[in-house]
Symmetry: C2
Subunit: 86 residues, 2 copies
DNA sequence: TTAATATTTAGACATTTATCTAAATAACTA
DNA sequence: TAGTTATTTAGATAAATGTCTAAATATTAA
């Protein structure tokens, strides 16, 4: 859970997640949406990948990123048990 | 959401939340459970309070902390919309 | 093969964060 | 009132983080 919370604890990374919610995008397309250098975006994508929140696939010159929501299941359950005040 | 994600992005604070899930506790009782100084725990509690994840009430000499799960509703919904791939 | 494009890696730097000790504040108790 | 206990505030420090530029790597195209 540690890498997941870490990944979510950044506004830029959350926005990347929202973008990928709509459609898969390559690194350059993602970077275009932000006033942040490409290396920085690449670093954010790496942190999202470490948390398994995104997957990446090389397609020729490009690297396409996709959102992986299955990992959010754990978080969802954690929150639900808190709300249960079990 | 920023202060919420920030508050959750720390193992000690998540453990404090789990403790408070069971029952309300004062600052000293919480601090006893960790190998961390009282000022540090006080600081963690402050961050949790800023995120509105806990509330505090002075009871005589003591300050009692309670978990506030209503704030998790937003997080829950955010996660659910991601999973919807809307 | 050479040049252009896409992405990541490396290294530097400023800011934030988690921690500590010492001191301050507040509230009981003798 | 003085002393004790509970908690927070202040200030310091080491480590982590987000950002940048420059360079490296990989792929496509001429």
């Amino acid at each position: 859970m540690n890498s997941l919370f870490k990944a979510l604890n950044d506004e830029t990374r959350r926005q990347i997640i929202e973008l990928l919610k709509e459609k898969d995008m390559n690194a350059g397309e993602i970077a275009e949406r932000f006033n942040i250098s490409k290396p920085s975006i690449s670093h954010h994508l790496d942190i999202l990948r470490q948390a398994d929140l995104v997957t990446s696939e090389k397609k020729g010159q490009f690297v396409e990123y996709s959102l992986n929501t299955t990992i959010l299941e754990d978080l969802l359950n954690w929150i639900l048990t808190l709300k249960d005040k079990s």
